[in-house]
């Protein structure tokens, strides 16, 4: 085990990690169970968190890389998450809810990164977030409503 300092939502955690531990497992171990584990291969986007403002699948990120970087989970953007979540609820696409935290983190990263929100841009940015309940039409409507684009 290796001692590291992990900064999550602006709080430092002094913890011990295994040499090959992935960020997702570390986050869940210290209580951030809002970060869900699904495909565990970097394909589904459900475990998305922000590292220094960039959205990453935490299942595919070695925890050892994280020193001196800042992690934001959905717990750290509660107000924003509620706001986006309401738009998803309004379209009835919260459904099982398992993929929602990851999707919301990606929407936040997209909002910070892109300047133009065409449907093509939105789909290209969010193609890494998979939902198995529906066909994405509702999500796209909700996201467009949230971004105030038609």
């Amino acid at each position: 085990m290796i001692p590291i300092i992990l900064n999550v939502n602006n709080v430092n955690y002094e913890i011990m990690v295994k040499p090959g531990e992935m960020l997702l497992d570390t986050l869940r171990k210290i209580g951030f169970t809002s970060v869900k584990k699904s495909c565990d291969t970097g394909s589904c986007g459900i475990c998305s968190v922000l590292v220094d403002g960039k959205v990453i699948p935490s299942c595919s990120y070695f925890t050892m890389k994280i020193q001196n970087k800042k992690v934001i989970t959905i717990d750290g953007v509660e107000e924003k998450a509620r706001e986006i979540g309401q738009f998803l609820l309004d379209e009835g696409v919260d459904q099982c809810g398992f993929c929602t935290p990851g999707l919301i983190m990606s929407i936040i990263a997209m909002e910070n990164e892109l300047t133009e929100f065409t449907e093509e841009n939105i789909k290209h940015y969010l193609v890494g977030n998979i939902c198995r309940c529906s066909g994405y039409e509702g999500q796209i409507r909700a996201i467009k409503n949230y971004l105030e684009v038609s």
Binding site: I56, K65, N129
Partner: protein, 256 residues
């Protein structure tokens, strides 16, 4: 992957010494693909902190640090505006944005992955690779070599050329069934095809025909002849051949 020890060196020389002294050690770049491999590694040497994350243009040469993330390449002004946007296009549909924020170009090159959407473009563009110990070598030379115990530092791309990349995926971010890249420099055309499903290869004879005779149909026939196309769970050899020939024609039309 089970990792027994994990070190993040602060200098290239330190990283190289560790690698040299631990024959079974593995270099970690992004790590997203490497971690899926079923093996035990006594030492992981992570080159995250060595300042290899950059894209610089100097006298029409683009220098991309090995640790540059694919998303950074996708959105970089040179990658978007030079070479018909080929460098941006080659990475655009590799996973989602999330994964491209982790995956590095150096890891993609050194893995020599069969499915790589990056290798055909880099081969067609005839890029140079700068290693810590072995120095600079051409990408084709690297693809054929069994270079081990070295660290890729930089990819050097001549911008005095043009290129087009094509790939076919069953869904937007799926692995390609086939990918093809063509570049044109002052000496002629270079064609490379990957995911056949074998590792990306330079189509030497086909490129020669296109350069000397400008006969795209003949070059297409030769392409199917000189490279191997096989059947796997993603597609049949026939399907791959049909796609490769069509891609060559389309890419050529876009290029000239």
């Amino acid at each position: 992957m089970i990792i027994k020890d994990y070190i993040l060196p602060n200098s290239l020389s330190e990283a190289y010494e560790l690698l040299k002294n631990n024959k079974k050690a593995v270099i970690i770049a992004g790590g997203a693909y490497l971690r899926l491999q079923k093996r035990e590694v006594p030492l992981a040497i992570d080159i995250e902190n060595l300042g290899l994350n950059y894209i610089i243009e100097e006298n029409k040469l683009l220098k991309i640090g090995a640790m540059t993330k694919l998303r950074e390449i996708e959105t970089n002004e040179y990658a978007v505006n030079e070479l018909n946007g080929m460098l941006s296009n080659m990475v655009k549909q590799i996973g989602g944005v999330q994964l491209r924020n982790i995956v590095t170009i150096g890891g993609s090159v050194c893995g020599k992955y069969n499915f790589s959407d990056i290798l055909p473009s880099l081969i067609a563009l005839n890029v140079s690779l700068k290693f810590y110990k072995a120095g600079t070598m051409n990408i084709c030379e690297f693809m054929e070599s069994d270079l081990k115990s070295d660290i890729l530092m930089e990819i050097i791309i001549d911008l005095n050329q043009n290129g087009v990349v094509k790939y076919f995926k069953s869904t937007y971010k799926e692995y390609s069934l086939i990918n093809l890249a063509i570049a044109r420099n002052k000496d002629g055309f270079n064609i490379a095809v990957g995911a056949r499903p074998g590792r990306a290869k330079f189509a030497k004879l086909s490129s020669k025909i296109l350069t000397n005779e400008k006969d795209i149909d003949k070059a297409g026939e030769m392409l199917l002849d000189e490279l191997s196309f096989k059947t796997d769970f993603r597609a049949s050899d026939k399907y791959r051949k049909a796609l490769a020939k069509t891609f060559l024609l389309e890419a050529y039309k876009e290029l000239v």
